[in-house]
């Protein structure tokens, strides 16, 4: 608890722009805190898409605590980097990272998914001004991100647009309509990150397991004219290094990062189990989960 408190203090007094926590250790610790917040909120509200929030937790921390140029005291700062959570059902993960970063209070996480709450089950920008886009119907966020990136170029602004999509989500045709246009408009200020956690809500049976929703994500984005990378989406060091490299490549090509992740990452009984796509832990599960996160499995 003491460690978490220190982290939050730093967040509250952050300046405009990048927070730039340089210590990989500290970022990793932040990701663990984020995972706990995701679980404690889901436990408290008996609700939430836990699996996909845990799979993208390290990506969210690398963005919000190292990479994005944003200002919690002025969420609508017009030169900020934009972030679109196209896989909107993992709003829980996004709210938790926004709380850690100081956009909302930790107390407010308790209102998640509540009637008229700012923290709707799926991100609603008309309720919470820290959100750059409303999402929830899959496939739509990337098109909005493309619009923002075209807009940035027309306004001659150098902010970047980051869009997190799911591997299941990429079954939506609109993702590829958007990719097609990103190439046409040479959107090198657009960075798509696919949280490839290998599971979707239900998917196809494959023996006793479930089939991966997407196995050619990188090749597809490559074919659509993107510059592509593949990364271990749970290696904070690799994520931070890669995001820095990607940012500097203004060569007219849109960017796609395929982040290989594990659904439910950090809690053994949730990992790679599709039933944790949307499910809240009971008392016993919650206690076990916290212990595992604390120990760092």
């Amino acid at each position: 608890m003491g460690r978490n408190k220190i982290l939050l203090m730093e967040v509250i007094f952050t300046r405009r722009g990048n927070l730039l926590i340089l210590s990989i250790e500290q970022l990793k610790m932040t990701a663990t805190v984020l995972r706990k917040r995701i679980l404690s909120t889901a436990y408290y509200k008996k609700q939430g898409h836990v699996g996909g929030s845990l799979s993208c937790a390290d990506i969210l921390v690398s963005l919000y605590f190292h990479h994005l140029s944003i200002d919690p005291s002025n969420p609508k700062w017009e030169d900020r980097d934009r972030f679109v959570l196209s896989k909107g059902h993992t709003a829980l993960g996004l709210y938790a990272v926004l709380a850690l970063r100081g956009f909302i209070t930790e107390e407010e996480l308790k209102t998640f998914d509540q009637y008229e709450s700012r923290l709707q089950a799926h991100p609603d920008m008309t309720k919470l001004n820290a959100l750059d886009m409303s999402t929830g119907s899959l496939g739509q966020g990337l098109s909005a991100a493309v619009g923002m990136a075209i807009g940035a170029k027309r306004l001659k602004k150098d902010f970047r647009v980051y869009c997190l999509i799911g591997d299941g989500e990429s079954q939506e045709g609109q993702i590829w309509e958007a990719a097609n246009i990103a190439e046409k408009y040479k959107l090198d200020n657009l960075i798509v990150i696919m949280d490839q956690n290998g599971l979707q809500q239900y998917g196809w049976k494959n023996g006793n397991e479930r089939m991966k929703p997407e196995s050619n994500g990188r090749r597809k984005f490559d074919g659509f004219g993107f510059e592509t990378w593949e990364v271990d989406g749970h290696s904070m060091e690799d994520l931070v290094t890669l995001l820095t490299e990607v940012k500097s490549r203004g060569n007219g090509q849109p960017k796609a990062i395929i982040a290989n992740t594990t659904k439910g990452k950090g809690v053994r009984f949730m990992e790679n189990n599709y039933v944790w796509h949307s499910k809240a832990p009971n008392d016993e599960e919650y206690a076990t989960a916290l212990t595992e996160l604390e120990e760092g499995i």
């Binding site: 496939g139 098109s143 619009g147 097609n180």
Partner: protein, 308 residues
């Protein structure tokens, strides 16, 4: 010389884009049909080709609006309002972005292209989306005024346009205020209510009808609807008739019956396209088949007077 609605639309949008750098036009690869190509010709930088991908086009408009632009998205009415419906609801209406959606080639008159291109349910669909304003001007000059008002007002709006080239600028004044209807003629036998391109054909029919005394109201805004004007006209006559180039159910006729049943129960006769698909045909053939030609409207109105 009279200019068609779609030509006027293209011209006016190019003008808005020239005057205001926030205005961008997004084309679903139909610019040379819808006349959105005027913007490309006159102010190329404001024209964004989005290809044959309506869902993404609507989403891109949301993103552009989020960084301060006013995108005008244009395609055929049926493709825009049905193929990209969820995108319109989630990315445009729920966010309340300042995006203008333009459904060209509404109704049946789609240049002999048949049922895949007809749009006979777009009023029903678009008026049922919260935050959405729905506008269907009656002629070219009202289209200009409507577009100016849309440009000035912030928020998601749908502009329903016709491809019909035979409609002259006939409305007595080219004024337009969002949410206001107009009384075009006064009479005692019945109130006839119209919108969009149908207003012209109905006003021609009324001119030629000698034995029926008609009050004619034109509603270029379908949402928000000018209830007070409707009630004022309806209370003076025994019968109300609605005419529209749209399915009978869900369009203007439904809007009018809903209002009257709550506030002023009255006999309403709805003329529109029946609940079936229509194939190819010339504009004349389709209007005749659906009872929407000037001649057919005349017959229906006479019959209404005799029957009720």
């Amino acid at each position: 010389m009279s200019i068609s609605v779609r030509d006027q639309f293209g011209k006016q949008l190019a003008q808005l884009a020239k005057d205001d750098s926030r205005v961008l036009t997004l084309d679903g690869d139909l610019g040379n049909s819808t006349r959105l190509d005027s913007t490309e010709k006159e102010t190329a930088d404001s024209f964004l080709q989005m290809g044959i991908a309506e869902q993404n086009m609507v989403g891109v408009a949301a993103g552009l609006a989020s960084v301060g632009f006013q995108p005008w998205v244009c395609s055929f009415a049926t493709f825009l309002t049905k193929r990209a419906l969820d995108q319109i609801v989630v990315s445009i209406a729920q966010t309340n972005f300042d995006v203008k959606l333009v459904g060209s080639y509404s109704g049946l008159l789609t240049s002999n292209t048949g049922k895949t291109h007809h749009s006979l349910d777009d009023i029903a669909i678009m008026t049922n989306i919260p935050n959405m304003t729905v506008i269907a001007p009656g002629d070219a000059s009202e289209t200009v005024a409507a577009m100016k008002a849309m440009h000035q007002a912030c928020g998601p709006m749908y502009l329903r346009l016709t491809r019909d080239e035979t409609i002259p600028s006939f409305l007595p004044d080219g004024s337009f205020e969002i949410g206001k209807g107009k009384t075009l003629a006064e009479g005692t036998d019945m109130l006839v209510v119209t919108t969009g391109s149908t207003t012209y054909r109905v006003s021609e029919a009324i001119k030629q009808l000698e034995d029926v005394s008609i009050t004619h109201q034109h509603f270029p805004t379908l949402k928000p609807f000018d209830k007070e004007l409707l009630l004022e006209g309806a209370k003076k006559v025994p019968l109300v008739v609605t005419v529209e180039e749209h399915y009978i159910r869900g369009g203007l006729g439904s809007i009018v019956t809903e209002i009257l049943s709550e506030r002023l129960p009255k006999k309403v006769y709805r003329i529109g396209v029946p609940d079936r698909f229509f194939g190819c045909g010339t504009d004349e053939e389709l209007l005749e088949a659906t009872g929407l030609s000037v001649e057919a409207i005349k017959k229906s109105l006479s019959l209404c007077k005799k029957q009720f």
